[in-house]
Amino acid sequence: MSTILSVRDLTLRFHTFDGVVHALNGISFDVQAGETLAIVGESGSGKSVTMMSLLHLLPMPPARIARGEALFYTNGTPTDLLKMSRADMHRVRGAQIGYIFQDALSALNPVMTVGRQIGESLVMHLGMDAETARKRAIDLLDDVGIPGARARYRNYPHQFSGGMRQRAMIAIAIACNPRMVIADEPTTALDVTVQAQIVELAKRIQRERGMTVVWITHDLGVVAGIADRVLVMYAGCPVEIAPVDDLYDHPQHPYTRGLLSALPRLDDRSRRDLASIQGAPPDMMASPRHCQFAWRCPYVFDRCWKAVPPYYPAGKGHATQCFYDLENGRPRTDA
């Protein structure tokens, strides 16, 4: 498998009137072609900001990228997404990388028919004429499971239900057959039965088109069903990255472990209390000088307060930012 995206040391801050918010603190990860990478984290952990910053979707200012690079590979040649000009970025967004937003109602243009919004990128990126774009848009609507696509082409977003709007968003994102699709909490606002439909749809489309998917979510249940690998984020830090089975079986970061045992499960009838993580996420106004999870961590020891932990390998394709070796139940011994 070849690498399609390689993010290194991405550090991003928001310069606000109240001070500097350290939204991302040195994010590094790779995305392999054809895989589904899930980015998991609680609100404010920086999971959406990471992917939005790559596509220049954040207003700058207040956002400012302090350092880092994001290499996007086309036929083996890397281009740094972060250094791209506006015009170049225009050619990448939609054509090379599709984006599915959480809130389809506010992401779609309310005064433009759904069909034309799908056709828009076809005309722009693929240079189709209006008629071909219309036909293709109807095919796409049909493909994402909207019944009566021909009639629905002329509908406005408010005439669609929540699930159908999300399907239309997916149609827009995949219209130009991009190599990578970023799905930013696409099912969070939906009911659970509709969520199941959208997840199935996304899986089918990925299988059929061999797309690379980065799926941003806070729902560890959804992740279990779709991801090949998982990146866990906490307070702007990538605390753990692992293949999905490994992450759920052997979480190597106390935060991941806490998160997994804090979840109630439908297949667990015991009445045990949920193992909660004490405290709340940290204030991100201060530049991190130590592990951001130290305040809430049950395994914290003096070293955790002295430096930000680097990535430690913890198995095949598994790395964690923690000074404590959870597997062996003792602090790591390296210098």
Partner: protein
Amino acid sequence: MPDPATPCGADNRKEILVRVKGLKKHFPILRGLIWQRQVGAVKAVDDVSFDIRRGETLGVVGESGCGKSTTGRAILQLQRPSAGKIFLGDQELTALGEPELRKLRPRMQMIFQDSYDSLNPRQSVGQIIAEPMVIHGDQNRTLSRQHMRNRVAELLDLVGLNPNHISRFSHEFSGGQRQRINIARALSLNPEFIVCDEPISALDVSIQAQVVNLFKDLQRRLGLTYLFIAHDLSMVQHISDRVAVMYLGRIMELADRDELFDAPLHPYTQCLMSAVPIPDPKKERNRRRITLTGEVPSPAHPPRGCVFHTRCPLAEDICSDKTPAYREILPDHFAACHFADDKGGSRIQEP
């Protein structure tokens, strides 16, 4: 008071605290600017009956628009029902006027989903939590300022907040802490019954677990009775003793938690359970899903017959003609489906 409708098991001897009979809440759809006329009704809750036993947690689940919140509000008479009777103990709430109802309010409280909007931003935490005592205090006139301050501090401690934060304002707290303030306020009058309307839906996973544990702990210590409304099936499964599944204003199935989740009788319950992801990649990969097509129809125009028949994998002609009766199919296990019987007639064959 034993319920004649349910046979006596060990649990059934428990006293019934809240009884809901034939509850309906219809919201009129009006047309016209000045001479408004009613052109229809949104049947938010349509003929719902159930009991809540003292000391238990009755979970109510369903998708958005199924009427679960309206049911909770109607029980507390925050919205007067269109029809039906509601009893708290032996008092019929639906027959009472506002002044009498107000006297009963200390016994029943509510916790809302949105912890931002349900706290007054201009009041300190102390004022917020003491307000119910100020309003209802004149019933016994024993609450001095000092007494109240002590009680607020005690409540803050009870819900896991620092009693020294009594003069802080709600914006100084995080989402989870704010929900704790809401809980403290609801507890300030020593209620018996609390309606929890999606109290944890807006919280992050790690905070959800803290608040759920607090709910369970308070129930153990204070003997509270909860109506716990949520859309998260896993969470309802975790916290409830009995569970009611709602769809388009009606209860589809109600049973003991273990029975409902181990042997669901209603096709909708089966579909709902099948749609919930399990945080275990190996199980997820081998799961066969019953995927429902379409979305919940509008409650302004609910389907004829069984409201679920438009999406039901088992639907036959009878389902679009006749509304299935909500009946007790197994002891203490209620369902509204033509095919539900004690032999598994409503089980969906897994694909």
